[in-house]
Point group: none
Chain length 264, copies 2
């Protein structure tokens, strides 16, 4: 299998065009080129982004603007979310070095991968992180945690570059099928959640968002293959519809019998 | 001997106050505090530096302004110069990782050490580099070598921090619950498989064993926690019983209605 392109950089709701330009610059410094912008606050394109890229125009010229994080990651098989703090998810937490080693092995195996960064002010929501397969946290000093967005990209991009450059690469197991794309995972999540809604699983209703985060991160971090996603969708259908049909038939038979008895 | 303070950051003839502020910010991010400015182009202090430090004021408040690189480095025992290109010197050339390991060992041994960065436009002169003991070169992509000053500081400061913080897993993993025991996993598997048997999921029957292997390995490799196992058992119950109950009730109501109609 041939290597996939280097990781894409996904900026979720970035605010300042200057920062987007600075991100493009460090991407070019470290050999990355695929930039995706989810709902940039001030619209796109923004001349100030090109001004602050210092000539690293190509990531900006080819940037993809997406209306949702789901769309921005649909073609990827593995997305690592950058957050400043450990979150209440069960996703594995990597250093930038560990994340780069993981991404490097996946790219060598032909997988399309990405690094996700939140906006300047708020970072990523837990629901955004639940769409990802792992977390990367930069080892910031607790006493001053305000890391510039382009700096966060730079450090992860530098670690990526070091894996390309240094080659102490983890052996990749060629027997493993690659993970399913994010679009397929999202299809599974939504199918499962729809059926659980029908079954009245999410109660009390205000806990629904956090229950969904827990379900998604538990399913997501295993790296399900396309085949496994199909299998699990079959499981959801069988449990919700198959069993329902059996019980409904039984109940209908029982009711009909009762009706017949009443007629007798 | 007790450890020396972390490396100082020496900026030789920096041009833009914004960049000096951005350097202070990444220093604070990674636990550095000793900033030395050699002949800053626009004088010192500069309000714009504080504005771009985003609150990381202390490296700026305590910055030492020096009229020569010799004076700025007089109290140090080991200075590593950052340059974009290998130079015609006989100094060893390190990656940021190697440089950080070297500086870390020296600091542990009580040595006062520093990292030297050139100005934005021209970088360091060979004569400046000759005052140093080693060179650090960031592995930039040859196609776009223009690295922002604060980014160069950030990557070296990050590598320093990684040497201090080399038990990152211990610090990061405290939020991860351990995986559930095998007995709990087996309980989940058997619960799921029992319901899938009821729903007629395993067909043709001779494929049942391999389908079970696939389901179990997909669920097992994510390392579900005890809590997640309970959640998934709730999911199985909700899908199989909850939905079934809803449908069964509906069917029973329908049958009862039909029976009532027939009686009318």
């Amino acid at each position: 299998m041939s290597a996939a392109p280097p990781p894409c950089i996904i900026l979720n709701e970035p605010q300042l065009a200057e920062n987007i330009g600075a991100v493009a610059r460090v991407m070019a410094n470290f050999g990355l080129h695929d930039l995706r912008l989810v709902r940039p606050r001030d619209g796109w394109p923004q001349a100030r982004a090109w001004a602050s890229a210092s000539g690293a125009d190509w990531p900006l010229d080819n940037a993809r603007v997406c209306q949702s994080l789901e769309k921005a990651t649909a073609d990827l098989t593995w997305v690592i979310a950058t957050t400043a703090r450990p979150r209440e998810t069960q996703l594995p937490v990597h250093t930038p070095r560990q994340a780069a080693a993981d991404l490097s092995a996946r790219v060598a195996a032909g997988q399309a991968v990405g690094l996700l960064f939140g906006g300047e002010r708020a970072g990523l929501e837990t629901a955004d992180i639940a769409l990802c397969q792992a977390i990367v946290t930069i080892p910031i000093d607790e006493r001053f945690r305000s890391l510039n967005l382009a700096q966060a990209v730079a450090i992860n991009a530098y670690e990526w570059r070091m894996t390309v450059f240094d080659q102490p690469r983890a052996a990749f197991d060629h027997n493993l099928a690659p993970p399913a794309g994010q679009a397929a995972m999202l299809g599974l999540y939504e199918h499962l959640e729809r059926e659980l809604d029908e079954a009245g699983f999410f109660h009390p209703p205000e806990k629904r968002p956090s229950m969904i985060v827990n379900l998604r991160s538990a399913l997501g971090r295993g790296g399900l293959t396309e085949q496994e996603v199909r299998t699990f969708r079959g499981v959801v259908t069988a449990l919700s519809k198959g069993r329902g049909r059996v019980l409904a038939k039984r109940a209908a038979a029982l009711a009909a019998e009762q009706a017949a008895n009443q007629k007798d």
